[in-house]
């Protein structure tokens, strides 16, 4: 019998076995560099097209009408130091997250209720299916009328964009849960609440996150359009959609593109957030 010595490490520390960080692994992969090369080639072509237009007056279709990326970058450098630009981000994010979170809070229970209760489904599914094909933007005029402020109507339309997608995904996910899981749980003595909380809810999670990811994309579409339509009003100003619209009104192509790229980044950040949450919530999905 020998006493365990705590201060002596079992294996000598070795640099070669250090687990590399996610970032290190990303930049050491060929795929990363190919992606970077793709973006660079795109930018060079774009720059060249603008150069041809300026020097030879030769317009390459579509590309030639755009300001050069260097000009866009210069405009962006000007814009990002102005607090107004960042307020556009805040405004849009507030609307997207507001509508999205309300859609999740109402959509997930509604979808689950449709899935588990036949009577509930019989009553609520038909009206739901009639309202679902209406594009969220078709609701804009009506919602401007029946909500007291523009801000509320934008959030309402944003909510609609995500709500239907989330409900359909939750319903589909819950209805396709393998019946053997439910049967196994029943044999082990599960009651109705157990079946719901231990099988149906975790079994639906992947679909909830799929619905959330798709819904988030729709939300961005809707919020920008809604901002363009109503954002210039006196009550609810700003937002990235209004940023683009006012740049258009002011005739600044550079600012339009800055706004568009900002939306790309904002959308990417939103879906990255959902992916991150999904991985944290469903460890079994990435376990291989």
């Amino acid at each position: 019998m020998s006493a365990v010595t705590i201060d002596q490490p079992q294996t000598p520390p070795s640099k070669t076995f250090r687990r590399r960080s996610k970032f290190e692994r990303a930049i050491s992969s060929l795929g990363f560099w190919r992606g970077l090369a793709g973006i660079l080639v795109f930018l060079v072509l774009w720059e060249a097209a603008a150069y041809l237009k300026a020097t030879l007056d030769f317009t390459i279709p579509f590309f030639g009408k755009l300001p050069a990326p260097t000009l866009v970058a210069a405009a962006a450098a000007e814009v990002v130091v102005q607090p107004g630009y960042w307020w556009s981000w805040v405004e849009s994010f507030k609307r997207v997250l507001g509508g999205f979170i309300i859609a999740m809070i109402l959509g997930i229970p509604f979808g689950l209720a449709l899935a588990v209760n036949k009577y509930f489904r019989d009553v609520f599914f038909p009206p739901f299916e009639i309202l679902r094909p209406i594009p969220p933007l078709a609701w804009v005029p009506a919602s401007l009328i029946f909500w007291p402020t523009n801000e509320m109507s934008i959030i309402f339309v944003t909510f609609l964009g995500a709500f239907f997608t989330i409900v359909i995904n939750v319903l589909g996910g819950a209805r396709t849960i393998d019946v053997r899981y439910l049967r196994a749980a029943q044999s082990m003595g599960a009651n109705q609440w157990h079946l719901f909380s231990r099988i149906i809810l975790p079994g639906t999670l992947p679909s909830i996150f799929t619905g959330a990811a798709v819904g988030m994309g729709i939300t961005w579409n809707v919020v920008l359009a809604a901002e363009m339509v109503s954002g210039g009003g006196s009550q609810a100003g700003g937002g990235l959609g209004f940023f683009i619209w006012s740049s258009y009104m002011g005739g600044s192509m550079e600012h339009i593109i800055v706004g568009m790229i900002s939306i790309g980044i904002a959308g990417y950040l939103s879906s990255a957030l959902i992916r991150w949450l999904g991985e944290r919530t469903m460890p079994w999905q990435r376990a291989f």
Binding site: A185, Q186, M188, W284, A287, F288
Partner: protein, 290 residues
């Protein structure tokens, strides 16, 4: 559904129970499209026996599993467990499902401990200890924290067995449990399962479509007819236990196999013969499609 009653006098540790099916019938569909799946089916499983149900594919084996497990109820007749009528699913009858039905969102350990924890059967520490013991026993000691998707097919089957056994069922129902395993792991799983069964001989209803597997494992074969399922033959397997693979080479096994295959072939031909015309017509329709 009510949970099937468990007679308190029965010893759960050994799980020796008697199952009787008495004139059980179950069909599906409305009157105009009626399909009888099980009709007047009667047989008995003796305490401590491993009974294999073999039958042509589509003969209603899965329906029988659902009826005995209590997921479905017979339209007439009754199923008795130690003399008590089965009225719904219960922990006294555990099912090991086709392929695997481990819950993918739980670790192997949580899957195994699921049943007792759900019911609050005893202290958590005791349940954990029992789950650890069973996982060690089925050789998954190092895989407790893994999710089912990280296990191989054979490991998943063993985890399923542990998940069923922790509930100390009176009857273990195995519905083609080794289907889908590759040719290497299937005999290994059969042998592993046999050792587990022979340890305490928990009454077992084993459904399979592989006649060799059935002879190797079973005390008795119940050979079913074509749909609607009825007992076509009952064959006792006189092989001693513990069973070994070499026993499968004996002349008596050969004779049993020949006999069973003859019956099964006969039944399979009936279903085939009945549907040849329909199948051919179906092909015509498909070919005629533009």
């Amino acid at each position: 559904m009510t949970i099937g009653a468990v007679p308190s006098s029965v010893d759960h540790a050994t799980g020796k129970s008697r199952i009787e099916l008495k004139n059980v019938s179950r069909g599906f569909g409305e009157e105009w499209a009626r399909e009888e799946v099980v009709q007047n089916l009667s047989f008995e499983i003796k305490p401590g026996d491993l009974t294999c149900i073999v039958g042509p594919s589509g003969c209603g084996k899965s329906t029988i599993v659902n009826l005995v497990a209590g997921y479905d109820a017979p339209e007439s007749g009754e199923i008795l467990l130690n003399g008590q009528k089965i009225t719904g699913p219960g922990k006294d009858r555990m099912v090991v499902f086709q392929e695997t039905a481990l819950m993918p969102w739980q670790t192997t350990f949580d899957n195994v401990a699921f049943g007792p924890k759900l019911r609050g059967d005893g202290a958590r520490a005791d349940i954990d200890r029992e789950a650890h013991r069973l996982l060690e026993k089925v050789g998954l000691g190092d895989f407790k924290r893994k999710f089912p998707s990280q296990l191989s097919g054979g490991m998943q089957r063993r985890a399923e067995l542990a998940r069923a056994l922790i509930n100390k069922p009176l009857l273990l129902i195995m519905d083609e449990p080794f289907r889908g395993l590759d040719a290497m792991s299937r005999p290994l799983m059969q042998e592993f399962f046999l050792r587990l069964f022979e340890e305490n001989r928990r009454t077992n209803l084993f459904v399979t479509s592989e006649i060799e597997e059935a002879i190797f494992l079973a005390d008795r074969l119940v050979i079913l007819s074509n749909r609607p399922a009825q007992v076509r033959a009952i064959i006792e397997i006189p092989l001693p236990r513990p069973r070994e693979f070499h026993m499968m080479n004996s002349p008596e096994v050969f004779e049993i196999k020949r006999e069973a295959l003859a019956i099964l072939h006969d039944e399979a031909m009936k279903s085939f013969g009945g549907s040849v015309g329909a199948g051919a017509r179906q092909m015509d329709v498909m070919e005629a499609r533009p």
